[in-house]
């Protein structure tokens, strides 16, 4: 990563006034040649895992070794996640937008020779349209990016997240200057209220209203008011908040500063899980450099406004994403929720008014301030304004992080941006809202994605995790999987969640073994409602959702298990059998060699046979057979 500039390291560097920030920005921009090529290497977690730091190193070495003419020596920049994780490591040339995918260190020499010296693209590294096979040169023309509206993510993949100069050059902290120099706290709250922004953490509560309530409670009694950011993203398959914290940490800081000014707070916390080491490192660096520059701490930009932040690392309990459990955790207590009949805006952290917003919510704030509430209101639907970031994972071709306006349909998201499910499979359902969200089937895929329509459909926005499922997925198994996750993550305080979820799992286990009766379905439904009504916090209150939603949309699949002892997707082990079709088997021996049980026998080039009494249904034979001769039913 690029070191923080030396200017920031000297002790006398402190932006004392808004004018000093403006002058500093001018000086950074003046140093830069807008036409200079910048080679951007994605350093998101996915690309890092696939070697991107080595690609960047190789690029730096190759560029230096090539001895390019001084006029065109490109800058090589490490940035946060570009979102197209399934194609990483990604290398993008700016300002042209030339886009290379799956780049490895050994590709670097060719890139330097062809692209930098000869000025032609390396075709084999370009994105190829899966339909036509045609190469797409620029990122903006790739369907995955073309149909997105990247506003909150706009800087990610362009700026170096740990170089404050880069953030400032891109317009960072301009919204803070605007509120500090030209708006009253009440005007800021009104603007956020007017924008219609709703909390991105899952609840969808109106952010401006929450701010106003916290501010009012804060004025009622003397003492501190706390500003908190929830970065305890724990849903399986979700990485929206992580990407924001890793890729544009100053946007989160700026949002919190604006919130602090509006609400009247001088102290805040970012709660981030320790399993996000890169996010922790980036945030820590961002806080340090913002503090050194006078953008955080006492008398910010000489305006008299003071606010400082601490990072609080969570131990990775899913329930600590719940507001009261999160606050208990910051206080040093076990991460258990409490009843919220007196809301945290009145009595939150250490019994004081506290405003907790999700990381993504905070990152929306500087945009609203910069462009105005009316601009923001024009994006999205009647009840859900702005854009939303989703992590699109599962059985979809383009796995990654996407940002779309609220109201986009599931179909558009899965087909146009996600590229559909892999060849030969069929889209079956999409799980929205994390483990306690719900599965929405293909029949409803014209549903617009916004807070209210998802809620009505039995799912929820949650924090924005989306798992695409195809016809190889068994919905009873899916419900069981999410229940098991939530049982593991339940804090165990209240009885409906601790014992009720376990009972639901026991019933589902019977179903997946082909036992149970239709009355059990009614019992399951009534237990699910008891858990929803009776649980202490939102984890328990929403935990039965996967079961309720699959019961609602895939009741036939439950009935197939119970009445006909069949698993239609051939997933539930106790209900399936493997066999070898002698007409398709050519005796390649692959299955017999891999079978851990020795259940498959046969001579070379002759059809093999599977002994069902030895078979443990591990499915390895099915996976290794290249001729479709192993069948499962």
């Amino acid at each position: 990563m690029v070191q923080v500039s030396t200017a920031l390291k000297s002790n006398d560097f402190r932006l004392a006034t808004p004018a000093a920030l403006a002058a500093y920005r001018e000086s950074i921009l003046a140093e830069r040649d807008p036409n200079r090529t910048i080679i951007i290497v994605c350093h998101g977690t996915g690309c890092r895992a696939n070697n991107s730091p080595k690609v960047a190193d190789a690029l730096r070495r190759a560029v230096a070794a090539a001895g390019l003419n001084a006029q065109v020596i490109p800058e090589i920049k490490d940035t946060g996640c570009h979102g197209f994780c399934s194609r990483g490591p990604l290398v993008v040339f700016q300002p042209s937008g030339l886009f290379y995918q799956k780049v490895q260190p050994e590709d670097v020499e060719e890139i330097v020779q062809k692209t930098l010296i000869e000025g032609t693209p390396v075709e084999r590294l370009l994105y190829a349209d899966p339909e036509t096979g045609e190469h797409v040169v620029h990122d903006r023309d790739i369907p995955f990016y073309k149909y997105q509206q990247r506003l909150v993510l706009s800087n990610i993949g362009k700026i170096d997240p740990v170089d404050l100069r880069d953030t400032i050059a891109a317009g960072g902290y301009q919204s803070l200057v605007k509120v500090l120099t030209s708006m009253t706290p009440d005007e800021v709250i009104t603007m956020v209220e007017d924008s219609g922004l709703r909390g991105r953490g899952g609840g969808g509560f109106l952010t401006g209203r929450k701010w106003r309530m916290t501010a009012e409670h804060g004025r009622e009694t003397p003492g501190p008011v706390y500003i908190l950011a929830n970065g305890d993203e724990g849903d399986p398959g979700a990485f929206m908040d992580r990407t924001l914290m890793e890729g544009d940490p100053h946007a989160v800081l700026e949002g919190m500063l604006i919130g602090a000014y509006a609400i009247g707070s001088s102290e805040g916390y970012i709660y981030v899980r320790a399993e996000y080491p890169l996010a922790v490192k980036t945030l820590r660096q961002a806080i340090l450099s913002a503090r050194e520059a006078g953008l955080l701490g006492e008398n910010i930009l000489g305006t008299g406004f003071s606010f400082d932040l601490k990072l609080n690392l969570g131990g990775g309990a899913f329930v600590c994403g719940e507001s009261t459990a999160l606050m208990a955790s910051i206080e040093g207590k076990p991460g258990e929720p409490r009843a919220k009949y007196i809301h945290t805006v009145e009595k939150g952290l250490w019994g004081r008014p506290s405003n907790l917003n999700n990381v993504e919510t905070w990152a929306n704030v500087p945009l609203i301030i910069a462009k105005g509430a009316d601009w923001y209101r024009d994006i999205g639907t009647e009840g859900s304004k702005g854009t939303k970031i989703f992590s699109l994972v599962g059985q979809v071709k383009n796995v990654g992080l996407v940002e779309v306006p609220m109201g986009v349909t599931i179909k558009d998201l899965v087909l146009r941006i996600g590229g559909g499910v892999p060849e030969g499979r069929e889209f079956k359902a999409i799980q929205i809202g994390g483990p306690s969200g719900g599965c929405i089937p293909q029949a409803h895929w014209d549903l617009p994605i916004d807070f209210d329509s998802l809620w009505d459909a039995g799912a929820m926005m949650g924090s924005g995790g989306m798992i695409v499922m195809d016809n190889s997925t068994c919905m009873v198994d899916v419900a069981k999987y999410f229940l098991e996750f939530l049982i593991d993550e339940s804090c165990g305080k209240c009885i409906p969640c601790r014992l009720g979820l376990q009972r639901m799992r026991e019933v589902l286990k019977e179903f997946s073994a082909g036992r149970g009766s239709l009355e059990d379905l009614e019992e399951l439904d009534s237990l699910a409602r008891a858990i929803k009504d009776g649980s202490l916090c939102a984890l328990g209150g929403s935990a039965p959702n996967p079961v309720l939603a699959t019961l609602r949309y895939f009741r036939d699949e439950y009935e197939a298990h119970i009445l006909h002892h069949k698993c239609p997707a051939a997933v539930c082990k106790e209900l399936i059998t493997y066999a070898i079709n002698p007409e398709l088997c050519n005796g390649c021996t692959a299955c017999a060699r891999e079978c851990p049980q020795g259940a498959i026998t046969g001579t070379k080039k002759e059809p093999h046979a599977l002994n069902a009494s030895l078979c443990i249904k591990c499915g390895i034979c099915f996976e290794v057979c290249k001729f479709g001769a192993v069948t499962v039913a």
Binding site: A339, K493, C494, P496, A530
Partner: protein
């Protein structure tokens, strides 16, 4: 004074009181398990659920913690409330079929053991936390605490070693509604 209604009957209570306190004052029965008049409410057993309508919406809340508000309409025995209560007692009965308190609750609500009934455990701990709270709030020591989470959550002394703080006063055994404390006590007191 705050005026509101429970089961259609107009009742009054003081600012800061909970629904349960007002209900008991007026002789209206609401079952509880983790509640004790001498201790701070904890909200774990959820047996004391009631349905509250504040004019805007109706929701199920726990009466031991919900602060009374003017004009609310409280119902203690709606189908939603009874569904929650029955399931809690069902789950508890299957965990510890011999506990007198649970059997009594089960009889009142017409709950009988299910096919999921645990074998070999007669007096399971329900983690109501009365022992932990009484040790801290009334006795004034902290010999007991919760450890682990979820299904593995249990009552123990800190770090699972015999507690130096424990006076051996037996208040925890006295307050335990299921009889499970007797076993835990032997480990805590050492």
């Amino acid at each position: 004074m705050i005026t509101f209604s429970i089961n259609g009957k107009e009742v009054q209570g003081q600012e800061g009181w909970t629904i349960l306190e007002v209900a008991r004052w007026h002789g209206i029965e609401i079952p509880t398990l983790c509640h004790h008049g001498a201790l701070e409410p904890y909200g774990a057993c959820r047996l004391c659920v009631v349905e509250v309508n504040d004019g805007k919406r109706s929701r199920v809340v726990i009466s031991c913690m919900y602060p009374i508000r003017t004009g609310i309409n409280v119902q203690t025995d709606t189908p939603r409330v009874l569904n929650v209560r029955r399931w809690i007692v069902q789950l508890l009965l299957d965990e510890s079929p011999e506990s007198p308190k649970i059997r009594e609750l089960a009889q009142t609500l017409g709950v009988t053991p299910s096919r999921f009934q645990k074998k070999g455990v007669d007096f399971a701990c329900h983690l109501c936390g009365l022992c932990v709270r009484v040790c801290q709030e009334v006795v004034g020591v902290q010999a007991l605490s919760f450890s682990n989470r979820g299904l593995r959550k249990e009552i123990s002394s800190p770090f699972h070693t015999a507690s130096k703080e424990c006076l051996g006063c037996g208040t925890c055994i006295y307050i335990c509604p299921t009889g499970a404390m007797e076993q835990v006590f032997l480990r805590v007191h050492g």
